[in-house]
């Protein structure tokens, strides 16, 4: 019975069917299914499948955005019922799109995955002045900072942010992403991670935070 609900959640996300996700999420609660399981075994696998379809070029950005809407529809219902700390990654992340860049679609998808995973997210939005990242990192003592840029012309600003944050807080991990970013650039600029897409960003972030905890 509960597997059927999980499948409905997953399928609802994949088929960008908000109504189906809402119905399934409410059904999950009515049956006293664990909210955490509904999210992680229902919605998240749906989004992982969406990521795969995007990679296979069956889905493109419009489809992905609609799937994200469906996923949020489910998260809004299920999240208030999640027991605190349960299985969450418990990380704190500061994220935003660097100044000069107003393209935030990629960042928003990544944010959603952090939200779903129980991260405490400080989303600075888009067109964010470089110093704001440094300030916010210090203020929140986040384990992770994610920088996004969609244009070559704004990507170069990331280098300075990485230097400044690392100077003040060498333990903080920094992940960069966006269309023009390459693995080579990430390593040259001293970033700890590079994400070509949202799925990759989330997996990398969780790995990084666990390694951080095992060291300290």
């Amino acid at each position: 019975m509960s597997q059927a609900i999980l499948d409905q959640l997953k399928e609802g996300v994949v088929n960008y069917d908000e109504e189906a996700v809402i119905t399934a999420a409410n059904e999950a609660l009515a049956q006293e299914m664990d909210a955490h399981s509904a999210i992680f075994d229902g919605l998240v696998p749906g989004m992982v499948e969406v990521g795969r379809l995007y990679e296979e070029q069956e889905y493109f950005v419009p489809e992905m955005l609609m799937c994200a809407d469906a996923m949020y529809a489910g998260l809004n219902i299920l999240k208030p019922h999640m027991k605190k700390k349960e299985g969450s990654a418990n990380g704190v992340v500061v994220m935003g799109v660097v100044q000069g860049d107003v393209h935030d679609i990629g960042k928003n998808i990544v944010r959603m995955m952090f939200d779903a995973s129980g991260f405490e997210v400080h989303d600075l939005g888009r067109d964010v002045p470089l110093d704001k990242f440094v300030e916010e990192q210090l203020k929140t003592d986040s384990n992770l900072v994610c920088l996004s840029a969609m244009m070559t012309t704004t990507m170069v600003g990331m280098k300075e942010i990485i230097e400044k944050i690392k100077e003040k807080n060498p333990k903080c991990k920094i992940m960069i992403g966006g269309a023009p970013v390459t693995e080579d650039i990430a390593s040259r600029w001293g970033a700890d991670g590079y994400a070509r897409d949202a799925n990759n960003a989330l997996k990398d972030a969780i790995n990084m935070i666990s390694s951080l905890k095992s060291i300290s």
Binding site: V61, M66, G100, T152, A179
Partner: protein
């Protein structure tokens, strides 16, 4: 001392040599190709912004000062020809001209130390309803910085217009739409309500035809239409065909002149559709596999590209630039263009290497010339 008669012979001889060598000015080299006339080699130029920090230092001015000042814009536009022999002069340097004329507010980042390209900070469309009803001002062509661009074109024509081709650019309707409204909403509507989005883009195509005509009247030799918001990373080839291509076709049909269609990213899956849009030439970046492109569209269409504007021109060494240029030539481009605006910190020696490599090897390696 040479008497008049002898001098005349000398001039005729040098003219003769000119004919034999087919020594063209950069402007002739650029324009003859569009006209289907014989050309000695591919030109090395661009249809996108290419001011350098070297030029800005020489001018003693900040990037931000260029956008609204026709004289400074024109000086900076001519700088690439003067500093490294680029065969064009292109203005402006930002992508906000049309959106601003339509009523959006631009952020030039006046207060920021680092060099940033302006962005749109206030949009004019705030609901789905408005995408087909937003007002297009009757005096659009007098608004924003459109007259600044026209004045800069005129100044460039007087300054270097005999020697190099003067170019400018327009955004494709979809990319422009993404500045007028929330991009997330635009993408979703493209999928959910393509008819509405098509109606919006049809109006924007008219806007771009009007602005483009004014740029040509001011003296522009060529115009690139940059539809980089509709790359294959974000939209399916099917959507490109149904929602993007019809409006590009409308622009190229309604705007006589030397038009180039530029789209960045891996454009192989849409190159055939791009080729059917009616532009005089296509511009692509290095992510496009040119061999496949030529198989798809044949050797006829003019294709410009495909030097990596950042990873080669900015962070590469001169050797990398030579390699990048030769690779583009061998792949079969008809003019060597960077795949995007040249990021201003690109070292002059790299840019010189780009131009010199085209001069030295362009004729020998040009697939079209080889027949």
């Amino acid at each position: 001392m040479i008497d008049a008669k002898k001098k005349d012979v000398l001039i005729r001889d040098s003219n003769k040599e000119r004919c034999v060598m087919l020594s063209l000015t950069p402007r002739e080299r650029v324009l003859n190709l569009f006209a289907g006339k014989e050309v000695d080699r591919p030109a090395c130029y661009s249809g996108m912004g290419n001011v350098t920090t070297a030029a800005l230092e020489e001018m003693g001015c900040k990037f931000q000062e260029l956008h609204g000042d026709a004289a400074k814009m024109a000086r900076a536009g001519a700088s690439s020809y003067r500093l490294f022999g680029y065969e064009s002069a292109v203005i402006p340097f930002d992508l906000c001209v049309e959106a601003e004329a339509l009523g959006c507010a631009m952020n030039p980042y006046d207060e920021v130390e680092q060099l940033l390209y302006p962005t749109i900070k206030e949009k004019i469309i705030h609901s789905e309803e408005e995408i087909t009803t937003f007002p297009i001002p009757a005096d659009l062509l007098e608004r924003g910085r459109i007259n600044v661009i026209c004045e800069a074109i005129r100044l460039l024509k007087q300054d270097v217009g005999q020697e190099v081709a003067v170019g400018t650019y327009l955004l494709g309707p979809f990319t422009l739409a993404g500045q007028l409204m929330d991009l997330n909403d635009l993408f979703k509507l493209t999928f959910k309500k393509p008819d509405k989005v098509n109606a919006m883009l049809d109006r924007l195509a008219d806007v771009q035809i009007g602005i483009g005509k004014k740029f040509y009247e001011a003296g522009a030799d060529y115009i690139s239409v940059r539809e980089m918001g509709a790359t294959t990373d974000v939209l399916s080839p099917k959507t490109f065909d149904k929602v993007i291509a019809p409006h590009l076709k409308k622009i190229f049909a309604g705007l006589p002149g030397n038009n180039i269609l530029h789209i960045c990213g891996g454009t192989n899956s849409v190159i055939k559709i791009m080729n059917e849009c009616g532009a005089g030439a296509l511009s692509i970046e290095f992510k496009n596999d040119m061999v496949k492109t030529r198989t798809e569209i044949g050797s006829g269409p003019l294709v410009f590209g495909q030097v990596d504007a950042y990873n080669v021109l900015v962070t590469g060494k001169s050797d990398d630039v030579v390699k990048g240029v030769l690779a583009s030539l061998d792949a079969g481009v008809d003019a060597v263009w960077p795949g995007c605006d040249i990021w201003p910190t690109a070292p002059l020696e790299n840019l010189r290497a780009m131009v010199e490599t085209v001069k030295e090897h362009g004729a020998n390696r040009w697939a079209r010339k080889k027949g």
